[in-house]
């Protein structure tokens, strides 16, 4: 969420996974200011195949944006793994011993 308890995600990881999913149009990553737009390949109107994200801190996306993109492009499990390895964050409730 856009919530201090959730970690931010490196945009570089998101873009790397987006490129790897094979659904982007050629050169389908457009950066304007702090906004990056992914364009998916396909015949549908543009509004149905664009994903917008914005870096509030350079290089970082808020958790909610990152997870929405990961769900839409089908790499949620990779994102969860990345969060565990890079942010020491695990989904679910915490229990202190």
């Amino acid at each position: 969420m856009s919530d201090p308890h959730y970690p931010s995600v490196d945009i570089s990881f998101i873009l790397e996974r987006a490129k790897a999913c094979g659904k982007l149009a050629d050169d389908g990553i457009v950066k304007i200011g702090a906004t990056t737009t992914l364009v998916l390949d396909g015949p549908q109107p543009i509004f149905k195949r664009t994903i917008t994200m914005r870096e509030l801190k350079k290089g970082e996306l808020v958790f909610e944006q990152a997870t929405n993109i990961a769900i839409r492009l089908n790499f949620l499990s990779e994102l969860i793994k990345w969060l565990e390895e890079n942010k020491h964050w695990k989904d679910g409730a915490y229990k202190t011993a």
Partner: protein, 126 residues
């Protein structure tokens, strides 16, 4: 409550594209102070760090929409049509794109804040 206008004028001149836009937007302040921004008539959602950043966020989002429509879509005009915009004549008799949907929905959607940028030059966006 004043109704917010929605109109878009696109000027193409020798490969240069400039856009004049007036459109309703909705801002929602999130738990950590960030602002979630919705531009329903373009089906765009973005995020900003504060009020001032919100203006940049909206400009970037609209610029992105226009550039992406021209480069990867059927052009801004056609993509606006797909979203429900129609070419109409404004008070000065100039053709502009206006948004038109069913009455009750229209009334609800026009209650947002107004975002106006009379001169968005796409070339200068990047």
């Amino acid at each position: 409550m004043e109704n917010v206008e929605s109109n878009i004028k696109i000027v193409r001149d020798n490969g240069k594209v400039s856009v004049s836009i007036e459109i309703p937007i909705w801002n929602k302040t999130l738990k950590d102070g960030n602002i979630s921004i919705l531009i329903p008539f373009l089906r765009i959602e973005t995020i900003a760090a504060n009020e001032k950043d919100a203006e940049s966020a909206i400009n970037e989002a609209i610029c992105s929409f226009c550039i992406v429509s021209d480069k990867f879509g059927m052009g801004i005009e056609k993509e606006l049509q797909e979203l429900g915009w129609r070419l109409i004549l404004n008070n000065d008799g100039d053709p502009v794109w206006g948004f038109s949907i069913a009455e009750p929905l229209d009334a609800i959607l026009r209650t947002g804040d107004s975002f106006v940028n009379p001169h968005l030059e796409l070339q200068n966006c990047e």
